[in-house]
Amino acid sequence: MARDPYQVLGVSKTASADDIKKAYRRLAKKLHPDLNPGNAKVAEQFKEVAAANDILSDADKRKRYDAGEIDAAGNQRAPHGYYHPGDPGAAAGTAGGFRRGPRGGYYSSQAEEGSDRYQQRFRFDDIFGEGGIFSDFFGQGGAQAGARAQPKGRDVRLRLTLPFVEAARGTTKMAAMPNGRKLEVKIPAGVQDGQTLRLKAQGMPSDERGGVPGDAFVEVHVAPDSIFTVKDLDVTVDAKVPLRDAVLGGTVTVPTLDGRATVSIPKRANSGQLLRLKGKGISRGGKTGDQYVRLLIVLPDDANDLAALEGALQGEAAAADGRKKS
């Protein structure tokens, strides 16, 4: 149900044509969609105001509305300027004194497309380019304009992604600066995912003679590892242990952060049991964690060995049955 147009414009039933024009203009100044781009609520409100004005600004329509011949929505033209393809209201709009025409549309709806050459007068460069709002952020070269020029060069932000083992052990990596220069980045052992390293004076050179270069900030990302599970400074690896070695004892070779290591398996080891390799974890801040080896007991691969094991177990089962029966 459309609201009473008098109420929408906030005028009395006896308002003069001039009062109505003034009321409409007062509301239009506030609610015009082109002055409130992207604001759907205001656009809806304006639609209502425009529809009300449509009726009340036309002496004949106003008379018919007052006489109850048309209701606030009834004989309404399409609210001016809105282009709804396939909307019967729009077709009706062409019949009325439709000032903007059915293909008009508000300017914002055109301009918002980004292809508008008028807004191209203010290019992205104003925002992203040199001296623009984001120029620092994207570390693009060049000086900031005028008073904001600083003797210190620009800071540079870089990202590096490392495999887990390299991050744990520490390494040296080359990173490319925006200007193409290669920067050697020393990664300390035990660096954590998301940590930012600051390389003092490794950023862009100063624009002024004798000025200090900016800093380089390197955000380090550590790729998750498929072998090592990490908790704080400790790492855990799984080791498959043949059933025979688990029962009788033996050795297994496991990866560590420093390469491979051979670990003794105690007699009668169980699946899930953890063996600790002291001091083989991650070193960070003067502390060093441990490595844990989680034993996973596996059946023999070899078919003959497996058959022998079956035979032995069945023999034992039969013996056990015999003991129960006797």
């Binding site: 015009h32 082109d34 781009p37 992207g38 508000y106 918002e112 008028y118």
Partner: protein, 111 residues
């Protein structure tokens, strides 16, 4: 595309109005003075100028200022959309970080 005549009839404006807007650089239709071609953007922009003058009672002398500010607003919105699209392409954890930092800045601004 609309011709000069169609524009004049549609908006109930004079040839002198449109000519002066073109001279001021407020609208830039394609074609030469004798045969301008107004595309949808030009047409909508003329509609905007007409409403700015008639409904919003903005002086002719102030119209270029209003249009320039609106153009800048649209350019800024387009740039923000570009940033929003770039953010949408970031991994979720970084988006969350960004949201958190934006929230912090917003609360500082409110102080």
């Amino acid at each position: 595309m609309a011709t000069f005549e169609e524009i004049l009839t549609r908006f109930e404006i004079t040839r002198a109005d449109v000519t002066s807007w073109i001279e001021e650089g407020l609208i830039e239709p394609k074609g030469e003075a004798d045969a301008y071609d107004f595309d949808e953007t030009d047409t909508a922009r003329i509609g905007l100028i007409v409403e700015l003058r008639r409904d919003l009672e903005i002086d002719d002398s102030a119209i270029p200022v209003v249009l320039s500010l609106l153009d800048q607003l649209h350019a800024a919105r387009a740039a923000l959309k570009r940033i929003a699209a770039a953010i949408a392409d970031l991994p979720p954890d970084i988006r969350e970080q960004l949201t958190a930092v934006l929230g912090e800045h917003a609360s500082h601004d409110a102080d």
